[in-house]
């Protein structure tokens, strides 16, 4: 097992599942800080096609599956966001994120929880995909079995 630096992680849990416009505002606010190392959006999946049932295979138009712009980067949403997990360089960033949440979540409440929420140990599947020399910052960033890749927010640099 590789030794890891344990950066603090937080989980933002709003009382409602978020619309693409709300998550866009929140992410732009968080990325404006320039202090978040990694960020994962979790929630129930919104597939492009009906996955099963009698209508299997037909297109599944859904308002939640939009491409949003975060600091100029296209972020195609594949889930209806319910949880935002952030890895921070230190605890001092948490109050700043709280301020952004207060600004964005005006219609409903939210919680910020501190703990370990991201994958920390590579699984066999990670090994099969990334090999023995994997970049550990990629760990848990995307579905290992999916085709997607993590998105790097350049911040206009």
């Amino acid at each position: 097992m590789t030794e890891q630096v344990a950066y603090p992680q937080i989980r933002i849990v709003p009382a409602r599942l978020l619309s693409p416009s709300t998550i866009e505002r929140l992410l732009n606010g968080i990325c404006d800080l320039g202090k978040v190392r990694r960020l994962v959006l979790n929630g129930p999946r919104l597939p492009a096609e009906v996955p099963y049932g009698p209508a299997k295979g037909i297109p599944n138009p859904h308002e939640g599956r939009k491409t949003i712009k975060v600091k100029g980067e296209d972020v195609p949403l594949q889930v209806q966001v319910g949880v935002i997990i952030c890895e921070l360089p230190n605890d001092q960033v948490i109050p700043e994120i709280k301020e952004i949440c207060d600004r964005v979540f005006t219609e409903f409440s939210y919680q910020i929880q501190k703990g370990r929420f991201m994958k920390s140990i590579p699984t066999t599947t990670d090994y099969a995909r990334y090999g023995p020399e994997m970049d550990e910052t990629l760990l848990g960033m995307t579905d290992v079995k999916g085709k997607g890749c993590p998105i790097i927010i350049q911040g206009g640099k």
Partner: protein
Amino acid sequence: MAYKPQFGPGTTAVAENRRKFMNPGYKLQKIRDVTDEDVVLLMGHRAPGSAYPTAHPPLAEAGEPKCPIRKIVVPLDGAKAGDRVRYIQFTDSMWFAPCHPYLRSYLESWRYRGVDPGTLSGRQIVECRERDLEKVAKELVETELLDAARTGIRGATVHGHSLRLDENGMMFDMLQRRIFDVKSKTVKYVKNQIGEPLDKSIDLGKPMDDKWLKAHTTIYNMNGGTAFRDDKEYVEWVQRVHSLRTKYGFMPME
């Protein structure tokens, strides 16, 4: 003395609502108008106006055997005509939807003839001969048993009953069969129950507000509603049934 059903225990409003919905003597409040055509479109089993496909010849032509039971049990119109058996399925959000899967099966068994209700973890299906199903479905959709935002008509891909609501107060639906129209503040179905797009949207009206939902819900929920433990009588009866059936399974002679 004639048997008078009590429908269920409980002293809270939730228990009272459960009894009310199960009681066939109580007329369910109609809260929206949905046309027969819309019900057919929502279910998606046949094109509106088309003939009912049949599974067998009409009973009058079938040459039924002489049977005393067949004389006693009057067949449904759909059975007489040989209709197929079709279904409608509902998902009810645990966030104070008016009805819930177990209760749906109970109330359908009390209220309708010739139906086959089935409760699963987060959904409830009711099967019936097609033309009779359309009448049953119309009542289930038009009345207080359905809230436009917290109840879903979902033939497949039902996930969402236990998730948080979205920003508009709608239950999550992976196939987004219904959308919340921000301008008119109404809920419109744009897909049928299995997720095929409809040629026209079907308006189910405005979602009910939280006050109405909490007054009409049949779901115990300690997060803002009535906690199950607060209904002492209900808990007592559930425990009694649990205890008796456990003992009976162990030693029936006691």
